[in-house]
């Protein structure tokens, strides 16, 4: 495992009703360089680990910037992050990347962000802007006030920023947007899984190149609000309650079961559990299963997906 970096919070700032920007510097040396789309993992005092995208391109000023949306109920991470004050210590992993901006093609680049999903896209947009690639950004949120960095992005992109805000009654016409993209265009997106899956469906329906759709999941938010649900595992003679602020995977680990997992954000499919019987609706929040597989409800990813108000009987390896 790579060693952690001890950092110190240098400033915090509210960017709207529920988003906090946190800047921090290395306590002992300079922070390492990072590339567009990189994220870090913050190691919280209680042992939890949370991933946050680094906002803006690397400037070699020994400052990392992240933005954290407070989720209700908080899964522990966001409440702690919102309580940080200048001078506080924060342990982080070195930057890594699961969401690479490819500079090996000259394809026109388009970006789509839902709310806090804007964070990994900003470094990419800044670099493409510098290289004069003229990126376009579609950015949706509940209200313009609640959408972080909207002013900075407007200054950077001007008419290439397209905003939709629920409170203004404007919505992004996802189908229209995808239909009008140039044939060679690449779309980078980040946001709630509902938005990602909707765009994936449109992308497939229109027969576009699947590798030109790039996305990163955030593992928060689904079709239904978080609610507790009960789970039985007949093979282990186990019944447990998954509370509204933990995932099924976390609940299984809490009672000492060691299910397989890897990404913990609904991408790899290792933590999938098989459904034996179901009362209620599965809120699939992963990107591992295809639309048909999600509809079949034969299995779901325990790291992100939940049952909305009901119970489920499962098995897993």
């Amino acid at each position: 495992m790579k060693s952690l970096i001890r950092t110190q919070v240098s400033s915090t700032k509210l960017l709207g009703p529920d988003v906090c920007q946190i800047e921090f510097s290395a306590a002992d040396s300079a922070l390492p360089a990072y590339g567009p789309g990189d994220h870090i993992q913050v190691h919280l005092p209680d042992g939890l680990v949370r991933s946050y995208s680094l906002v803006g391109r690397w400037r070699n000023d020994n400052i990392y910037k992240i933005a954290v949306r407070r989720t209700t109920p908080s899964r522990g991470g966001s409440a702690f992050m919102h309580s940080l004050k200048p001078g506080d210590t924060l342990f982080i992993s070195p930057p890594t990347n699961n969401f690479a901006l490819s500079l090996s093609t000259n394809a026109p680049r388009f970006f789509l962000a839902g709310g806090i999903g804007i964070t990994p896209l900003i470094s990419m947009i800044e670099i493409l802007e510098e290289l004069d690639h003229q990126p376009n950004l579609y950015y949706a949120g509940r209200s313009e006030k609640s959408m972080p960095f909207v002013n900075e992005l407007h200054a950077l992109l001007d008419s290439r920023l397209h905003i939709a805000a629920d409170d203004k009654g404007t919505r992004l016409d996802l189908k229209g947007i995808v239909s009008n993209l140039p044939v060679s265009a690449e779309l980078y997106m980040c946001g709630p899984v509902g938005m990602l899956n909707a765009v994936k469906a449109i992308w497939t329906e229109l027969g576009r190149d699947p590798t030109a759709l790039r996305f990163e999941t955030f593992a928060v938010g689904g079709e239904f609000p978080n609610a507790s649900f009960s789970v039985t595992v007949p093979r282990l003679d186990l019944t447990l309650e998954v509370s509204d602020n933990e995932t099924l995977l976390e609940a299984l680990e809490r009672v000492g079961v060691e299910p397989l997992y890897n990404c913990r954000k609904g991408e790899c499919g290792l933590c999938a559990v098989e459904v034996i019987s179901l009362e209620g609706t599965i809120d699939h929040r992963d990107v591992f299963y295809s639309a048909e597989q999600r509809e079949a409800n034969a299995a779901f990813c325990s790291c992100v997906s939940r049952v909305a108000g009901g119970k489920v009987s499962i098995d897993f390896p």
Partner: protein
């Protein structure tokens, strides 16, 4: 010690084709091939899934398929097929290196892709120009690429290493001049009124000649040498080479590891352009001559490893080599600890400024 933010030759144009070719460049293993439209691709040679070399796999259309589980990646390094699942994992990709084909070579950029500016490829137009003819080859060297640069920046060694072809006493005795500008380090040597060495005697009648060697180094690893002879008194030192013969020698080193490299070379001429005999003769002469360098450089590398801590003792003849190494060191310093960094960003800004002017 090699800068990563630079263009390096991955192969001759004819070496990259509709097959998978593995190359190690600056310690990075890459797999190279051509897509169906003819464009060249260089990907990280380790599958995203379990790191098995993709170069041991198969070329499937424009994609490379991993030999282990059949994951397929396209020329941009993106996964297009995963076994036993209906979706593609969004983070599945391998690094795709910037590639440019120019002057009969396929160039790759192992460093930060956002800095890969085609304008930084050394100008070797003579290798692919109607006013020039000739050919070249590749020689693998078990030595630090900088030993080759040192070798090329001081041709005194010709007298001793290449006595049967291009060396004679005059090379080791004639004075030379070292100079530099923003782009290059230059070593100029004129040998006036001398007996031509064996190779050039074949090209001209056996008369006294004025011989020149004008060496240009462009960091990190390109050396071109303008060479030739003209009968003494026909005005070559003053600029009239019409009675002589001019050759242009291209040497580019691509580091493989700290102690091995590939040496790409070509020997070109600007007369008798249609003579295949001369093309073959010059190329094979060069191959023999550079084989003599290989012998010395590999002996030298072995001695360096056997004498840890021993440093070179530079002499006056090493001025060009020292300046070349200084240019390499400057590139290394600007990259230190910050491969994707401020200094990098500054170069981007600088390049943009050039573009605007």
């Amino acid at each position: 010690m090699f800068p990563l933010n630079a263009w390096y030759i991955a192969g001759w144009d004819h070496q990259i084709g509709r097959h998978l070719l593995q190359r190690q460049i600056c310690n990075k293993r890459m797999v190279l091939y051509r897509k169906q439209d003819g464009s060249a691709v260089a990907l990280d040679d380790a599958c995203w899934h379990r790191l098995v070399p993709l170069s041991a796999g198969k070329l499937n259309g424009d994609n490379v398929a991993c030999p282990y589980h059949g994951l397929e990646f396209n020329g941009a390094g993106r996964c297009v097929h995963m076994p036993s699942q209906e979706t593609l994992n969004p983070s599945a990709c391998v690094h795709s290196y910037p590639v440019i084909e120019r002057h009969r070579f396929v160039w790759v950029w192992p460093g930060d892709p956002q800095l890969a500016d085609a304008a930084r490829i050394p100008n070797l137009y003579q290798n692919d120009h109607p006013d020039w003819a000739g050919d070249g080859g590749t020689t693998h060297l078990e030595c630090d690429y900088r030993l080759l640069i040192d070798n090329l920046m001081d041709l005194t060694h010709e007298t001793f290493v290449h006595a049967s072809s291009i060396g004679n006493a005059a090379v080791a005795e004639a004075p030379f001049r070292v100079s530099q500008d923003d782009e290059k380090v230059i070593v100029t040597r004129w040998m006036l009124d001398i007996d031509p060495p064996p190779f050039f005697r074949k090209q001209l009648a056996d008369v006294k000649v004025d011989r020149w060697q004008i060496i240009n180094f462009r960091a990190p690893s390109a050396v071109t040498i303008d060479v030739g002879v003209a009968p003494t008194g026909t005005g070559a030192p003053e600029g009239d080479r019409s009675k002589g013969v001019t050759g242009f020698v291209v040497h580019v080193a691509t580091p493989e590891t700290e102690t091995s490299c590939n040496y790409y070379w070509a020997f070109l001429r600007n007369y008798e352009l249609r003579s295949q005999r001369l093309t073959t003769d010059w190329r094979e002469s060069a191959r023999t001559i550079f084989g003599e360098d290989k012998h010395i450089l590999e002996l030298q590398q072995r001695a360096i490893l056997e004498n840890p801590g021993r440093e070179f003792y530079p002499l006056n003849i090493d001025g060009g080599a020292l300046l070349a190494r200084r240019r390499i060191d400057e590139m290394l310093k600007s990259e230190q600890g910050l491969v994707k960094s401020k200094s990098a960003t500054e170069s981007v800004v600088h390049l943009h400024r050039e573009a605007v002017q």
